[in-house]
Amino acid sequence: MTGSARIAVDIGGTFTDFVLLAGDGTSYSAKVSSTPARPEEAVLTGIAQLLATAGIPASEVGSVLHGTTVGSNALLQKAGAKTGLITTRGFRDVLEIGRVRTPTMFDLSWRKPEPLVRRRHRMEVGERTGARGEIVAAVDLDAVREAGRFLAAEGVESIAICFINSHVNPANEVAAARALREAVPGIAVTESVAVLAQSGEYERTSTTAVNAYVLPVLEGYIARLEGALAELGISAPLLIGNSNGGLSAATVAREKPVFFISSGRAAGAVGGSRLGTATAEKDLVVFDMGGTTASAVLIEKGELSRTHEYEFRAGISTPSRFIKAGGYMMRVPTIDVAEVGSGAGSIAAIDAGGLLHVGPVSAGALPGPVCYGKGGVRPTVTDANVVLGLLPPVLAGGAVKLDVAAAREAIARDLGAPLGLSAEDAALGVREVVNGNMARAVRAVTVERGVDPRDFTLLAFGGSGPVHACDLAASLGMKRVLFPEAPGVFTAMGMLAGEVEHHDVRAWLSPLAALDRAALATTMAAMRDDGLATMARQGHDAARITAAFALDLRYRGQEAAITVPLTADEAAIDPDTLREAFLAAYRTMYGYVSRDTIESAAVRLVARAEGQVLDFAGLKRPPGRALRPETRRPVRFSRSGWTETRILDAAAVGATPVAGPVILESDDSTIVIPPGATVARDPTGHLVANLGGAA
């Protein structure tokens, strides 16, 4: 058997982050440059380095937890498998037709995303299932085999199957998948009911196609990674973070990669909820700011907000949850993330009407901000922060000197002159606008749900989040900001906080008043048995698995539903309790309730394996390093002028509050505490800023 150390690995675009949690609760972290062509190389380098630092042998490693962007990169770079699709006759174009909306209006230059399967490789076969599950026509298996052989001859590596109404009765689809696997054994086959047994032919076809498209890529990557871990002498199980923030055995990720597309991003949110529990902050907005985007996730009473579908696309520029059609639809459980196209690299510009815009165009890593001196000429958010003194004039311990003068000149020229402002005031404007854009993401997960952000604490991490967090929070009337220790590797830390999860959802259409409790209980028992069996195959002890059910409810006629908790005890299933829960949630969201019939739409199961989860309160640090000495520099927090500001090593802040203005620096982040706010270390070792009356 393996040991008790756990390693978490988060691969980002620039760096791969590692956290090792030793059996005694000591945590070690590391960062190495990512190796995008073969991501597993950076993983191995980092793990070897970390084991050496901690002095722990490979045999002591009990599990390796991994968040991967391999799936999302395959979509982003169109680097997935050559994929085929087999559909009911008459419906091969459903994937390309989509839901026919456009993400913008009045824009005749719009380009529709290329479908993941070109029309030539979308095959139709004779078969039909009716809306009530009746088989109208049996599936033509000869046609299925013939389609498989044609696709194989075309070089297709992976095939999706989605038949109309297969979510009601999967018989035809399952028979087709079986015949196809026999006919073309070397090709991966994904049948739609294996990933999504729910109504909506476009959403189901798209989800299945994404699965088929990324499957060979992710499967190959995981196989290589497992082989390489074995070479290091690590025989511990590899667990992959899913889009919902849970962990799953690597075998699940190899078969159903569509559940793992946002693997890395979800981990930060889970870490946030776990950190919130440890610090007694039950109501949080988790805020992450990167180079091109910023995102927000709601944690209410310790519960992460999740959703049942999302679209993957590049260059998100709106927090709208209303507009879709910009990308690849996946109806899978996922952390509900609101994202805006505003980040540290976002470019600021004045339009023809005199309006200041920041983003969504980003300078990216190249040419980058003006101050990096890598060829960037258009001012970015980072340039504004440097000009204002909020960021240090040197990066990475003095290795990279920033060109503050060039940044100031670009801001003065592009923004200050047209607006009639000084470079510093224009830079403050850039910050205000970008904070306003990012506030949209926070609003999307709070105000839009009837949640008042003023009652919440902002949790800030990522490279740039802590530079903006206090001002962003103040603009929303939020009073506290939580900065985790080591915000730069927080996503990897979050993975250690994840639990192994199994999700299942089945259609359950019934008026609430006429709910057949016995039949429902039978289905729930079957769902639980399936879940336990699946998790047992992954090595989890059935006695240590908890199952939680929920029911989707809505007014008759609606499509969207609200998910309410459902007891597993048949005798205790009470339509009145369910109705009350639904009405309360509905009133909170929409401000009214109706007397109309309430109906159930689906029953959901989340099974979780109890196990080691990270205890943020119990973390121990490796032996300390020397503190950086305190310095000072002028910083501009407002239009009223420069303030000579203390610059402290973040580790120097203790339980006694330090009054702002003050800037806290560490190896991987800069925390800005504005005038009027205070910051102190809480008993669990994390920093908390109080914004006082500043609102």
């Binding site: 006759r89 008459g90 419906f91 174009d93 459903v94 390309e96 037709i97 989509g98 839901r99 026919v100 909306r101 913008t104 209006m105 009045f106 824009d107 005749l108 230059s109 380009r111 529709k112 029309r119 030539r120 009716g130 809306a131 109309i164 109404n165 109504s199 032919e201 476009y202 709106t318 709208s320 209303f322 507009i323 023809a352 009407g353 005199g354 309006l355 200041l356 815009h357 402002l421 404007g429 205000e432 606008v433 306003g436 854009n437 949209r440 609003r443 999307a444 105000v447 007014y555 008759r556 006629g557 609606q558 499509e559 969207a560 969201m589 929409y590 401000g591 009214y592 109706s594 109309d596």
Partner: protein, 575 residues
């Protein structure tokens, strides 16, 4: 404190806040609506107006509705000035009193801040039925407004927060599906309340004086950007004529003609020369013509122009009284959307002469409406399916037309086949691209869609509104027209073509197949790269025979293009 709205940052923050409010409102409608036409097809619109009734911000909803809001607001302001109180909600649908056609019920909620009017939340929804002679209330073959359903003059649905039971009861008794209609009205009401809550937060934060100064500036900003764009266009008059196939009674083509006059930074669009009003229900109110015109001009502006009242200041629209674009009572108007689409196509054709790189060749010509209503024998319930088929875009100056896409005047969605089959006694046997339907061009038009409905049992009334069977979508700059549309009814194995505008009885086992028109091409087909043609052939979007004819190609026996024979053929054609 008076504060000139001169802070660039506050301005940007307020603009973004308004956009967020309408977005949140649009999302609320989708989540709470009951009928598929609203919750799945998204035939509704959301906007916020200031206290003068001027549009401040619009959600990304049906553009065709939004431009009609100013005229509706004029009616509200004139009728209810001084008679508005907190908690009031006004509805209307009468085309001759602020509305467009009867299924579109407008809802307005005046918002009060510190006791005085601060603005309006406006939600327009297409209701699945408002009574009248045909299920769905959308028939193209009615001959007077009185056949088209319940007419609601501007009236208070809520007065100081108290619902008007009399009005609700009249609506309930006059529509075929009262649960869905009342449920959707509730969704509109909830959405108004959400908008009100958020707008008030904005007032609390910025104060009335400051905020209203920024509202003025926002509208001025829309006007400034629009005038700058128009000023760059060459002065002159530009004329274009397009046609509707007929009104369902007469097969005579119905001309829609526009003359655009660019003068300095102002645009005048006149529709003199368009058809007189017609017998069938495709007459369009002037408000709807304005809306169609505004949105088309808006497409020719840059992407960042906000969609507010400032844009409308730069454009005047006129149409002769008694014409199809400005009809007199009691002309029927239920199927007027079709006429709006043709106004869009006509204005686009004229704009192509001004800004050829901003427009596209004609798209499918507007969505096709298939309404099937009857009585479900199994469920013992009435049903009304209102389905809208979208669509294809024409070719652009630098790209092919898109297939499987909303008409740019709508931004609607489609009704999932599985939702449709679960709710109605109908099976869909095909939903696909129509091969060979895109107009040839250097940039070809998008393919039209095919949608086939089989009525499983019982009897029903089928009501069809289709067009472009006689006058296919035009191409531009040498591009060819898209394929004309077809409507095929199959009874006991026999298939016959139907006219585009028809109401008839359908029996179980009968099948309706709509083949939508394809988009027009843009630019000379002979300039289309061979690789693009071969890719369409490989994908089955274009047949070899059709490619040979449209693009003057000679294929070699292996299926590739015989380039020298092709060159010879093309030279002979040019000669």
């Amino acid at each position: 404190m008076t504060e000139p709205a001169n802070d660039a940052i506050t301005f940007a923050v307020i603009k973004s806040a308004l956009d967020t409010i309408v977005d949140d409102m649009a999302y609320a409608v989708m989540r709470t609506a009951r009928s598929p036409i609203v919750r799945d097809v998204l035939d509704y619109s959301v906007t916020i107006c200031d206290r003068h009734g001027r549009i401040l911000s619009q959600a990304k909803t049906v553009a065709l509705h939004l431009g009609a809001v100013p005229d509706a607001m004029d009616v509200i302001m004139a009728r209810f000035a001084g008679d508005l109180a907190p908690g009031d909600v006004i509805i209307l649908n009468d085309p001759y009193d602020g509305g467009m056609h009867l299924p579109d019920i407008f809802m307005f909620k005046p918002v009060f801040f510190e006791g005085a009017l601060a603005g309006f939340c406006v939600v327009i929804a297409h209701h699945c039925d408002v009574g009248g002679r045909v299920p769905g209330s959308n028939a193209s073959d009615s001959t007077e407004i009185f056949q088209e359903g319940l007419r609601i003059a501007p009236m208070k649905l809520y007065e100081r927060g108290v619902v008007n039971r009399t009005l609700v009861t009249i609506i309930e008794r006059n529509v075929r599906l009262p649960d869905l209609v009342i449920g959707d009205l509730e969704a509109q009401y909830a959405t108004c309340n959400i908008g009100e809550r958020d707008l008030l937060r904005l007032f609390e934060r910025h104060g009335r004086v400051s905020l209203e100064a920024y509202f003025d500036r926002l509208i001025d900003y829309g006007e400034t950007l629009t005038r700058k764009a128009i000023a760059a266009w060459p002065d002159g008059t530009y004329t274009f004529t397009d046609y509707i196939d007929g009104d369902g009674f007469s097969p005579d083509p119905i001309p829609i003609r526009c003359v655009i006059t660019v003068k300095g930074d102002h645009l005048h669009v006149d529709f003199a020369g368009s058809s007189p009003q017609v017998k069938g229900a495709i007459n369009s109110t002037l408000s709807f013509v304005k809306s169609s015109t505004y949105l088309t001009v808006r497409c020719a502006l840059d992407a960042d122009v906000p969609n507010n009242a400032g844009v409308y200041r730069c454009i005047t629209v006129t149409a002769p009284e008694g014409s199809i674009l400005n009809p007199l009572m009691p002309a029927p108007v239920a199927a007027r959307a079709l006429t709006g689409y043709r106004v869009v196509d006509t204005v686009m054709g004229a704009l192509a002469q001004i800004v050829p790189e901003k427009v596209m060749a004609a798209g499918e010509g507007g969505n096709t409406v298939v309404a099937i209503g009857g009585y479900d024998r199994e469920k013992r319930e009435p049903f009304v399916l209102v389905d809208m088929i979208n669509g294809a875009w024409g070719g652009r100056h630098d790209a092919d037309g898109i297939e499987g896409v909303t008409n740019p005047s709508q931004n609607m969605s489609n009704l999932p086949v599985e939702t449709l089959e679960a709710r109605y006694p109908i099976r869909m046997t095909e939903y696909a691209f129509r091969d060979d339907s895109g107009g040839a061009g250097e940039h070809r038009g998008g393919l039209g869609l095919v949608r086939t409905y089989e009525l499983l049992a019982g009897d029903a009334i089928l009501q069809l509104r289709a067009d472009r069977t006689e006058h296919p979508p035009y191409g531009l700059f040498g591009g060819r027209p898209g394929a004309p549309s077809r409507n095929l009814l199959t009874t006991d194995g026999e298939t016959r073509a139907l006219p585009g505008k028809v109401t008839l009885e359908m029996r179980g086992g009968m099948t309706l197949r709509h083949e939508q028109a394809g988009g027009g091409g843009y630019g000379d087909p002979l300039r289309r790269p061979f690789a693009a043609i071969l890719r369409d052939i490989a994908d089955g979007k274009l047949t070899r025979q059709r490619a040979a004819a449209d693009y003057a190609l000679v294929f070699n026996p292996a299926g590739g293009i015989d380039e020298s024979a092709t060159a010879t053929l093309r030279a002979a054609r040019r000669a």
